[in-house]
């Protein structure tokens, strides 16, 4: 084929366009970089990550890893990251429960219940999260009774204005040697999955749904049997008991953590409710009708036909809500929970290393997001309906 003159060649023009774009970007980046350097030099600051090793000299209200004021800034940031992860993961689990219940309630045939769900979604989704968090913190948690008159919930759970107390475990000496059974239980889940897959590839029949219970029962069985067989118990229950002015033992959620958790769970739950509702409704009625007319009971039709299809529609937006919850945890600063953002702010203030701290912070959030997106993409590509 004849090669046209280069100034009219589409390929050349496209390459030129991209080159121009890169040049503009590079120029802009260079310009910004020059400005940053000049400005920093004027203020007598330099860019570097050495400050991470300096002692932090500030306390952090709550932490899941050991920390005190003499630890480094780097460690402080790590504490913040862990705090963020804890509230995010716990929040994700709880909000899924709340959201699914609310979503199903929305579709209930009981008028009152569905109105409740509609009101819940309508109010929560239309107001800013930060106001809801403040309401939870100032308006609810801090208004709870003092420790002496704690609100007692079944199962030794106590609600007070000093925090929420829950029963927890305490590790005994035997725990170290027993730990391995936890790993075995986890491995068994993977093993079961492999067995099912192998079985599936041999025969073309889907496995009966109730076999999926194996994922739950087998690990629990392993843990339980290993517990019985142990000569000494590796774990002991730790119930909060009111002694004097405070509760001893058990797990304590600070008021800040509790308010943040409940606020995030309720807020994100409203969005998940709508997603669940839309997902179930997206499966056309015709599917349910066809299933019923084949003789399946409503329960079977829902389980085998409606839910699998609904799940496909539900999972992608639901994972982005999970991500939103993790990102929204940064509002913790408004009520004093020391999450990654609030600690990063403190560090930036104290060291003046604004650029570095912001980079670290954004990288952390970005990693969380990308990791979640990756998981979602993997799931999506596996369950995508095969179409022409």
């Amino acid at each position: 084929m004849q090669i046209p003159a280069f100034w009219r060649n589409i390929r050349f023009l496209q390459a030129l366009g991209q080159l121009a774009f890169v040049l503009i970007l590079a120029l802009a980046a260079g310009f910004l970089y020059a400005n940053v350097s000049t400005n920093l030099a004027r203020q007598g600051l330099t860019v570097g990550y050495g400050f991470l090793n300096n002692p932090a000299s500030f306390d952090i209200g709550e932490s899941y890893i050991p920390y005190d004021a003499s630890d480094s800034y780097g460690r402080a940031l790590l504490v913040g990251l862990v705090n963020t992860l804890v509230v995010s993961i716990l929040g994700i689990i709880l909000t899924t429960i709340v959201g699914v219940i609310a979503g199903i309630a929305r579709l209930s045939s009981n008028w009152l219940i569905s109105r409740f769900a509609i009101a819940y979604v309508g109010v929560i989704r239309n107001t800013p999260l930060i106001i809801q968090l403040m309401f939870w913190y100032f308006g609810i948690i801090l208004q709870l009774p003092a420790v002496k008159e704690a609100v007692a919930l079944p199962g030794s759970i106590y609600l007070t204005r000093r925090g929420v107390y829950l029963p927890w475990f305490e590790t005994q000496p035997a725990f170290d040697s027993w730990k391995i059974f936890i790993w075995i239980a986890l491995a068994s889940i993977v093993l079961i999955w492999l067995i099912f897959r192998w079985n599936q590839s041999r025969s073309n029949l889907p496995i009966p749904f109730w076999w999926n219970l194996a994922y739950l029962l087998v690990p629990i069985l392993i843990l339980w049997i290993s517990l019985i067989l142990q000569p000494q118990p590796p774990l002991q229950e730790n119930i909060p008991i009111l002694t004097g002015l405070n509760f001893q033992g058990g797990l304590r959620w600070t008021p800040e953590f509790a308010a943040l958790l409940f606020g995030l769970v309720v807020y994100t739950g409203a969005f998940i409710a709508e997603i669940v509702r839309a997902g179930i409704q997206a499966v056309s009625r015709g599917q349910l009708e066809a299933a019923r007319s084949l003789g399946l009971s409503t329960g079977q039709a829902l389980r085998l036909i409606v839910f699998p299809q609904a799940l496909r529609v539900i999972i992608p937006p639901m994972t982005s809500q999970y991500l939103n919850l993790a990102k929204n945890s940064s509002l913790a600063i408004a009520i004093g929970y020391p999450d990654l953002f609030s600690i990063a702010g403190t560090v930036a203030n104290q060291t003046g290393a604004v650029v570095e701290v912001i980079l670290i912070m954004m990288l952390s959030y970005l990693s969380m997001s990308l990791f979640t997106s990756l998981l979602m993409n993997i799931y999506n590509s596996r369950v995508r309906l095969v179409e022409r």
Binding site: M1, Q2, I3, P4, A5, R8, N9, I10, R11, L13
Partner: protein, 251 residues
């Protein structure tokens, strides 16, 4: 090596190959069209017929071989592509009218923006064309308000507004309800009689019989057989042609 153009041939395609990733969709097409000819291309779906005519106005890019339209070779040269596109009009299976513009605006759009006609002139020409295809009264309606047959006729008028030398038709009646096919075919027949060079991909054998100068049977990316309608219908040479004709003519 460029061959000496035959001044009669307005489209020359020589050993044209095209791949979609690894799929070899056009395997060496040699097809020449003379001025004023009406060429009908037919064949089973997936045989590459639509892909071929879409290569002629560069909606698809061929990777090997030559396509020369009215003396201009089709390459990566922008000027060539634009020149060819303004000489070649296309009518699509799905009409592809612009839903946010009225019928009249649809027809006027290209002349105003590409040929820089004045609005008045473009408007007049547009109305003439709408009269020619038989629906002048729909000028101020939106495409969504028209029937399929009417929409396709607007699409033909829109393509004609650029005064093309060649008209390409990509299965123009396949998306129409049966009762509307005739009105569109009538317009196409009238167009053929005015001497327009037409390259038509279609299953409508009645149309082919009436106005086609030549017919080409495509199968699996190659031209299996070609000839005048008489030759094709009365004495097809290849077995595949016979098989295909028996399948569609039995309707």
């Amino acid at each position: 090596m460029k061959e000496a153009d035959n001044s009669q041939d307005i489209i020359i395609s020589h050993d044209v190959h095209k791949w979609f990733d690894n799929f070899h969709v056009l395997k060496g097409i040699n097809l020449n069209v003379k001025r004023g000819e009406v060429v009908v291309i037919f064949g089973p779906s997936g045989s590459g017929k639509s892909t071929f005519i879409r290569c002629i106005n560069r909606l698809e890019e061929h990777q090997k071989g030559q396509i020369i339209v009215d003396g201009v070779e089709l390459t990566n040269d922008i000027r060539n592509i634009e020149a060819i596109r303004s000489e070649v009009g296309m009518v699509f299976q799905q009409f592809n009218l612009f839903p946010h513009l009225t019928v009249l605006q649809n027809v006027m759009l290209a002349p105003v923006w590409v040929r820089r006609s004045s609005k008045d002139q473009a408007g007049e020409t547009a109305m003439q064309l709408l009269r020619r295809v038989g629906i002048p009264e729909q000028a101020n309606k939106y495409p969504g308000q028209l029937s399929g047959g009417q929409q396709q006729r607007v699409a033909i008028a829109r393509a004609l507004a650029m005064q093309p030398k060649i008209m390409l038709f990509d299965e123009p009646t396949s998306a129409l309800d049966p009762e509307m096919i005739k009105e569109v075919l009538d317009v196409m027949v009238e167009l053929a009689k005015t001497g327009m060079t037409m390259l038509v991909v279609t299953h409508e054998m009645g149309f082919a019989r009436a106005v086609a100068s030549r017919m080409f049977f495509f199968d699996e990316g190659q031209i299996v057989e070609s000839g005048t309608p008489d030759e094709i219908f009365k004495s097809p040479k290849e077995d595949r042609t016979k098989l295909f004709l028996s399948q569609i003519l039995s309707h």
